[in-house]
Amino acid sequence: MKSFSYLSAPDTVTALRTIADSENVKFLAGGTNLVDLMREGIEEPATLVDITRLPLTGIEELPDGTLRVGALVSNSRLAADPLIRTRYPVLAKAILLGASAQLRNMATVGGNLLQRTRCMYFYDEASACNKRVPGSGCDAIGGFSRGSAVLGTSEHCIAAHPSDMAVALVLLDAVVEVESVRGIRRVPVADFHRLPGDTPHIETVLAPDELITAVELPPVPVAAHSRYRKVRDRASYAFALVSVAAALAVKDGVVTDIRLALGGVATKP
């Protein structure tokens, strides 16, 4: 791991100004993916701005029934929330089937959205990886690709997106709120992640100085009857080979509403 500076942002304004003004800065929340990537030399920020003191930890219901989840809400807290469990059980289940209890306690909603692939060639410094080193090639193609994507791939990258939570968010038409010194904007989660195309190293539509501040869940009545099914090579603590988020409404033996989202098989949720 390369040496780095660390500062703890007291408020959102300071955090946003720091990242806008300096080179090679990254935000640190739970660190459950970023610190691993730093240990592997894949991410080498010069400065880490710790945002865990920011007031982004609420889960509140807005007047129109939207649930606004602060970006720093931990995965475990989100999965345990009574409103989430009754209105969006698929989201709670998706989170609980991912990682481990210890990781879920530390990981945040924002960080979960930004986590990077676990492709073994991405992680291996001696392997060709266009995500890690643009233009170097893709050793996953023709290699061990059991966990790789089959949807949304390109000849430059077949890495699967690993998040279970994000699959549920896509099913629910969630909206990601991001903020920078230029102001606030809102991105539907389905548009938040990019396909690899010929720039697999650019994974989201976030500008380098933008901070995820919240994820909003619109009212989705059919989501009250929703499930998450994750199939993998062992019973726990493994990424999906295939996962499905599904919501279904049936009236008088007829399917009246259905939503499906897939995980483990695509380069984005």
Partner: protein
Amino acid sequence: MTTRTWTGSEPGADASVPVGRAVGQPVDRRDGHAKVTGAVRFSAEHHYPNLTYAKLVHATVARGTITGIDTAAAAAVPGVVAVLTHLNAPRIKPPRKINIVRNLGPDVSGTDVDYLNTDQVFWDGQPIAVVIAETSAAANEAAPLVEVTYDLLPARVDFAVEQKNATPAKGDLTFSGVKKKGDAEAALAAAEVSVDLRYTTPGLQHNAIEPHATVAVWDGDHLTVHDTTQSIHQTSHYLAWRFGVPASHVRVRAEFLGGGFGGKFSVWPGTVIAAMAAKAVGRPVRLALSRTAVNRATGGRTASTNRIALGATRDGRLTSLIQDSITRTGSAGGLLEATSSPARHLYGAENMLTRQNLVAMDLMPNTWLRAPGEAIGSFVLESAMDELAYELSMDPIALRLRNEPATDPTGGKKFSQRMQCEAFDRGAERFGWADRDPEPRSMRDGEWLVGMGTATAFHPVLRLVADVKVRLSDDGSVLVQCGFHEMGMGAATVQAQIAADALGIAYEKVHVEYGDSVLPTGPMAGNSNQTATVATSVLAACAELTRKVSALARRTGTSGQEPAAALRAAGTPFLDASVGSDTRLGALGSQGRFLSTFLKDQRWSKAARGAQFCEVRVNADTGELRISRWLGMFDVGHIINPKTAASQLRGAVVTGIGMALSEQSLIDPRNGRTMSAGLDSYYLPVHADIPPIDVAWLDEPDKTMPLGIIGLGEVGTTGVAAAIANAVYHATGKRIRDLPITLDKLL
């Protein structure tokens, strides 16, 4: 004969067990409290003044010559003390070429690579440089900055391709390459019923919870090494020889290992390089391998391809048994994985042919991994027996019992103990085997297909030799000293129980010193040998001590009182008794004893045995495989400590479950690089994969072994993969002949 068990829900016995009744008690391991409170120091945790921290740099080509190695950027990282490569590392005596036949001898090195003294690369992952720094952070930052260029040489890295170049193995000291009886091919062709099958297994990696680590400290020409080793004395001799110092100048300490499983049996690069680095910088060096480094710089189990053919009469009598196996070695070392061991010893087939073939490849040399040979061989043979049972429409247990041999099928030796039938009978009853509808795909629970499977467990006994010293002090305490190893099995606890009863002393008054090469020479910890090996000498030493104490008691008129009374009455502070010693005479005595024990043991066919039973569930839609129930019924002689024994057997079953369900080395066939280098890509089973494991044993002593101990650990792994594969067939009607049994194979 009572079946005994230890379920884990009853409390263990604490140290205050009644005098003379320690053996057989489920005494809590004596290092348990220290371990869970962090008081124990593992190899990487020993601190020295002026300690430096090292990190290896690994080759990223399978075979080649280093043409350039630029350490400038690495050396410039603040805190870096030195970067050693083949250009500047201290020169030490070159290793001998590894000869498989000599494997168990003084060549305890896993490879014959002259680390950091050669520009040759023999496998992708071979250490070619080491960074030494004031902090581990600095070492970690600097290591990736070392730049290396290579001239590539052609490399043989794809087992699927290379296996056609395999040639017959010559075998080693304990296992010959070919064993024949009659004309097995002709018998197979003429058999009324037969199966002729191909079974394959992947490479595997140990991934003990504790990564390999070495702390090396020189003091003049004296070297102290804290090392994660299962062979402290052999390591001490090896380092002394390589570094050109007397063996008595090299002290190897390994009081606690966080698991070994055979992966710490040999000397791997880190041990030699740490000592080299310490010599070069004149300071103590701690080289703790990362998980990635362990998986790229220490050996694992070889892959295998096996032909297995069984011919039988219509009523199930085996007329032919053929096993032809191919495994690999590295070009810089490796060993013969004795996959046809179960085939040679389990069933009384009229005609037999077992053959081992080897192919050398440019990969990490392979090594021992729990139940080497038998883990793979039991999967192959015991699956084939199940296939034959179905061909015969016979119960798989009945088929095995029908072919129970009276003497060892290879060589005709008598069994010192063989309760295979009892293990199956007791096991079947305890498991509820009779509830099974033998028809495949006949049992279902909602979306889950249910099946049951069984297989023989088998692991031959190897007894080594141990030097032991026992001292009784006048305060009534006893000290047992022997350089054996504690890998987490409770070795010291068990020897204390044995010594306590042998001397008629309270268990809590017995102290045991081990894990240090300055102590009397203990056995390498492998092949499940340690308990019986050490017990043999502990009992002999205790008998000698008892004779001395009794003589003293008679002279002082304290006969009938507790042993220490005689010492106090005589004004003698302590009395010693030894088996073997440091003297030349003692060393010769040890060799003599080994030869004598070895020859005595050779008169018998000895093994740990058992019957494995499992119930599995396979999801009809997704192929997901879950094991719902397990029983291992074992014939492992007399059990000294039911608590530690049950833990060992359970753990061994878990190893087998991993082998069957999810573990496989992922070596990229394009370049020979181990891609399964972390716990995220090498799939050990998780808790959720493991069902309640019921283990029980017949507790009948083997009369040719000390205290009737046969020894265990590895026997619990054998037969597991076959029991699972057989249960999967029963559940689904699909026969899986390649491990691991992943869900795609069941769709």
